[in-house]
Amino acid sequence: MYKLPWSTTDNQGGWVEVTDNCNLLCPGCYRQRLTGDKPLEQVKDEILGCKKITHCDTMVIAGGEPLIYPFIADVIRYTASLGLKPLLLTNGKELNDATLHELKNAGLKRMHIHVDAQQERDGWPGKNETELNELRQAYADMLWKLKGIQCGFHITVVQETLGHIPAIMEWYRRNMHKVQHLSLIALRGIPLIPGIGYFVNGSEIPAQKLVNSYTGTSGISITTKEILDCIHNVYPGYLPSAYISGDALQEINKQLFIVNIGSSRSFFGVMGARSMELTQAFCHMFRGRYFSFIPDPAIGKKVFLLSLFDKQMRKTFRKYLRHLLKSPLEVFRKVYLQSMIIQQPIEFIGDEKNVCEHCVNPMVFNGLVINPCELDEYRVYGDPIVPLKNQTERL
């Protein structure tokens, strides 16, 4: 696997939050409602500040729910005017054709829609992840019809999700042309375990005041490896080509990246580490920035040129050629890229706080560059939480 070369000051991504209001309550959410909508000028300042320090290519616009922010189109327009690719993170509830047109005209490049079974959406109560593929399909079709905005999905993974991963993957495969991204994000929270206290500036935060806390670690310990194993039980071909390690625990792969190649009818295979390395390096050499997604996912057959350097890509190319032999019409179909990230977010393991080494989407808060997953530690407690083996009385 290739260790992605991104760092905080030379990163593909940045992050801005426009509001902390939301119209859905998702388990595992680490954002509280404290300040409501931000003034537009502040959002613009934060975007500019983030761009300056991170040198980013994509700006993730998140919240809260950004679609209920009144100036969302202005934010997207401003982001695009800076030469950044705006990516919206939403639950999709407010999506309709009129809004989508407005966002597209403002310059939106991509939308990641968080849809999963724990959300208890109106009209979808009690539905499992497999059944929710229908909702995902509806959004994917909506964006496909519109053209111009790429489509991705986020799914928070809990124990019950694991059994549905084959069905999610099967659905994802069928939508090679319509869906460009899938993030499978293991649920994390703060585990309440004997002997470990959570401190901010030397004062312990009482357990009842810890947001997003869980008794013990059982519900919040699914790893990227376990999720990958679930995929491999059915589809062994989904091999990760790149990773990001933990900051404190480097042996943990916090993020695994898989890039799929296929057409509207067939899945051919994945990219290897060499292709990831070459594409990142070349993009940085010629454009001066790293990247996380390309403007047009219909990359075309030129992608197979990478098989000159990449064994994994050669396998994918051979699979493509076999498809051609079986069905010569395949030669007229477009070849698409589709990405997957398997992720275990910020976590507390014993007295270690393990964030991703070089967060892929750092944000600006009060002039500091921070990880968005730690934002509420600053907003609620004033500073980041530090886990300590219990030593309260000494402090």
Binding site: S7, T8, T9, G202, Q250, L278, A281, M285, K389, Q391
Partner: protein, 398 residues
């Protein structure tokens, strides 16, 4: 402030880094101001050293390992350690004060596979026979070591200088001396002196225990003395050598806007300094090395890069200027054609510091080491050895 758009951010990370670090002993025969190592354990057992080397290599994917201490030349099994690293196909470097260096010792280390020695020589050390000498006068001593290593034909030579307010003005003459020895000297590091400032707004804890001021640093360091930045050192050099442009940097972990590392890659021959590599060439060389060798690098097997470096003039403006100067020199004196072309790295560093209550390391430090199987910053080793874990800063509550 140096414009980062003109600099390359090294693509290194913790788990894909050119460098690793091992300490073989904490015994030293010199007392350098700013040293962050206490004598607690003495010489380490060879097996423990081997284990840490294996762990470091596995955790960092490193291309070189720095053997440090204490004074490694005083460690009885140093040759074995060098051989062990070299056999792992990793380049061994020694950081030493040079007191114990003899031609015999060097030839033994050369046989064991030593790639490079970095000698820490500065005026604050008050070396026997050199007390009261300025950095310029110490260039005589540097020359002595550089010549000694040049005679080995294979071991590269580097120097470290700790920078205080007192020797700050000597940065330029030391660099000038290095440029005059471009073929003999491959590296110079200027490392700003750091200590933890007294600040009643903050307290320090480690593993949940509050530390006393004397536990972690010399008491009451002068804030002006500990505030030299990499940027400031680089600027002072540019005033005398405006063409010595930096090409790469590493940022701070807490204060991202700070350039903790600033690197210049100077190019020249034994006769003259010609110019520098630009960010594009440094980037391409890191990428190419990683693509073919599966690792990043900080220095090459041979510092004699040869004339192929001029090929970079196709895409690197700095190299075009360099080639221009070279061609003009050849026209004036064709003997230049037969000279080897060398690379020399000039490096400014402001190490681990506590700034406004924030601990600010070098992001993706190339000097990480394995300690009990875990990767830590070597500058923080004594926090683990003395307090069981790293220092954390907390705001004081009245």
């Amino acid at each position: 402030m140096t414009d980062r758009k003109k600099l390359y951010r090294f693509p290194w990370s913790k788990t894909d880094n050119p460098g690793g670090w091992i300490e073989v002993t904490d015994i030293c025969d010199m007392q350098c101001p700013g040293c962050y190592r206490s004598q607690l354990e003495g010489h380490r057992p060879l097996d423990a050293v081997y284990k840490d080397i294996v762990d470091t290599a596995a955790l960092t994917n490193c291309d070189y390992i720095t053997i440090a201490g204490g004074e490694p030349l005083g460690y009885p099994h140093l040759t074995e350690v060098v051989r062990f690293i070299s056999k792992m196909n990793i380049k061994p470097i020694i950081i030493s004060n040079g007191l114990l260096l003899t031609p015999e010792y060097i030839s033994e280390l050369k046989k064991a596979g030593l790639a490079k020695i970095h000698l820490h020589i500065d005026s604050a050390q008050k070396r026997e026979g050199w007390a009261g000498k300025t950095e310029t006068e110490l260039n005589v001593l540097r020359q002595f070591y550089a010549d000694m290593l040049w005679n080995t034909k294979s071991i590269q030579c580097g120097f470290h200088v700790t920078v205080f307010r007192s020797n700050f003005i000597y940065i330029t003459p030391v660099v000038e001396w290095c440029l005059n020895n471009l073929h003999k000297v491959q590296h110079i590091s200027f490392i700003a002196y750091r200590a933890i400032p007294d600040d009643s707004r903050f307290r320090f804890i480690a593993e949940g225990q509050v530390l006393g001021p004397g536990d972690y640093s010399q008491p009451s360091p002068d804030t002006y003395e500990i505030s030299i930045t990499s940027e400031e050192m680089y600027d002072s050099l540019l005033r005398s050598f405006p063409a010595l442009h930096a090409s790469a940097y590493l940022n701070g972990t807490a204060k991202y806007e700070i350039n903790k590392f600033i690197n210049i890659a100077a190019i020249g021959s034994k006769r003259m300094w010609m110019g520098v590599l630009g960010a594009e060439t440094v980037e391409l060389s890191q990428i190419a090395y990683h693509f073919f060798k599966r690792r990043y690098f900080a220095f090459l097997d041979s510092a004699e890069v040869g004339k192929k470096v001029f090929l970079a003039s196709f895409f690197d403006r700095e190299v075009r200027a360099l080639l221009n100067r070279y061609l003009r020199a050849v026209l004036r004196n064709p003997a230049h054609l037969f000279d080897g072309i060398y690379v020399q790295s000039i490096h400014f560093q402001q190490p681990n510091e506590i700034d406004e209550g924030m601990i600010n390391f070098c992001d993706d430090c190339p000097n990480m080491m394995a300690y009990k199987g875990k990767l830590i910053n070597s500058c923080r080793l004594d926090e683990y050895r003395k307090f069981g874990g790293p220092i954390q800063v907390i705001k004081s509550v009245d």
